[in-house]
């Protein structure tokens, strides 16, 4: 057990260092913060609403930001290893494939956590202007991070499928887009016009938007946590299967 964590930690440390040794990390963080700022204050109408809350103007945009930004973070995880051939080094080290998969995932997830934490000026602003419920805001952050984790696990899976980062990126975006659209109000409305309500319920229950909604309102529902957790678990499991498949020839 001890060596398991030591191995995961070593992998995570290496991956994190790899992010910050390339421009990707800085570009990502700058774009993410710019997008957050612009959409919250300009498009989201933060000031016009006149309420001390981040639900609509801030968190509402996250599923859409992540759609493009998270696959960009996850696309290199395995594709690059396979392209350069370092996967042969990694998997002949005395570690299991699971430790490598979890270590890599954790590194990227921690990186996304850092990007989220850096949006703190938005929280300061709303606290300066009014007195929001900070519990609700914290809950929104937790949900946002979990959602990013789900996207990331999917990107991790698509990254293992290919040697080409761009291909991995595109497949991940398409899969994540499905997770959004399944609960996107205009799509739901369209579905309701012809499908029976139970079918619409099932489809929308696959959506990150449906499950993120609770977090935004400050409701920490176990079912929502399980939803994101199971997407992460399932995608990482499939990643393991894909990697084993490559090696079996």
């Amino acid at each position: 057990m001890n060596t398991t964590w030591a191995n995961i930690k070593t992998i995570t440390k290496r991956e994190l260092a790899a992010y910050f040794s390339s421009p990707l990390a800085y570009v990502f963080i700058v774009i993410f913060l710019l997008l957050c700022g612009f959409f919250t204050f300009m498009v989201g109408g933060f000031f016009e609403r006149g309420e001390a809350s981040l639900v609509r103007p801030f968190f509402d945009w996250h599923p859409w930001f992540y759609l493009f930004l998270v696959p960009a973070v996850g696309m290199r995880l395995w594709a690059e290893e396979r392209r350069v051939g370092t996967i042969e080094l990694l998997l002949t080290m005395p570690i299991t494939a699971w430790q490598a998969i979890v270590g890599k995932f954790l590194a990227s997830w921690l990186f996304l956590a850092l990007a989220l934490v850096l949006t703190f000026p938005v929280v300061l602003t709303v606290n300066y202007l009014g007195s929001p419920d900070n519990g609700v805001i914290l809950c929104g952050y937790v949900g946002s991070w979990l959602m990013a984790g789900a996207y990331l696990a999917i990107s991790c899976m698509t990254s293992a499928m290919t040697r080409t980062q761009v291909v991995s990126f595109i497949i991940a975006v398409v899969l994540c887009l499905f997770l959004i659209l399944a609960g996107f109000p205009p799509v739901i409305n369209l579905l309701e016009s012809w499908a029976s309500p139970w079918l619409v319920d099932i489809i929308s229950s696959f959506s990150v938007i449906t499950h993120f909604d609770g977090f935004q309102k400050g409701v920490l529902d176990l079912r929502d946590v399980v939803f994101f957790g199971s997407i992460i678990g399932f995608s990482l499991f499939v990643t393991g299967v894909i990697i084993r498949g490559h090696r079996a020839g």
Binding site: T10, I11, A17, L89, T92, P94, R247, A248, G249
Partner: protein, 322 residues
Amino acid sequence: MINVHNLAKVFGTKRAVDGVSFSVERGEVLGFLGPNGAGKSTTMRMITGFIPPTAGTVSVGGFDIVANPIQAKRLVGYLPENAPAYTDMTVYGFLKFAAEIRGLKGDARNAAVNRVVEMCFLESVLHQSVETLSKGYRHRTCFAQSIIHDPDVLVLDEPTDGLDPNQKHEVRQLIRRMGQKKAIIFSTHILEEVDAVCSRAIIIDRGRIVANGTPQELRQKSDYAGAVTLRVSGVDAAGVTQRLSQLPGVKRTAIIREDAAGVTARVFPKGTANGELASRVGEAAQGWKIEELHTEEGRLDEVFRGITMPDTAVDKKVEEKQ
């Protein structure tokens, strides 16, 4: 230390490795020879646990690579083909990572990194990014990674590929030195390396072992082994052939060069070679001016070609070239 038994790997319909068995003990350096695509790298990947075998077993230090991969991998250092390394790290960072993932911590880790940096002459590029390294340095960085935990078993896939002659020499010295205490397998298609480094060599072709022995034994398989080469002047080719062919124990005589300065002939012995042929040829050459007379040791390259290209008449080809 390494036991390979009936190892096979099938990719789709292609049998890349087909029933390979051998073992390597501590203190042995095994050269792995074969044409491109013969199954060398695939075999090595199975030994190091990168790909699972379709059939057969590999055990390293008594641990089966499929049943106990972690214990087996701990004992192995591996240099993959093309020496991959994380391009986004510095040499120092990469070696530190390799040491940590091998379970070395703190002082032990730093000592291990310092040791391999010294052994592989990496001081000058220690804080350079791997991406900016020349091929030789990158190769040595990956090699350093494979010996960082001082493993009992080393698997090196073309360790001298892409190095300049000096670096090749260094790496060979290193392998030979380490071979005294470790079990080493290395693949190459440079035959002189086999002589320089190996205590034993295996030739593999189309997934099967076609020859296995010391470099000396392999050379014995050559047609040239025991043949006597003679260079004389003052006589024509026909005269030389006539007189030499009548000697007892001679299978045939071939003229390999004839020019104004003289004639070079090669005399092949009947059956197994012995040292007498040279003296008999020497006696027969009485009256001619002998410029050169020696017994051939046999050539690895010719054995290699004879074994891996059985359909072509090797002997003829070699002679045509000369």
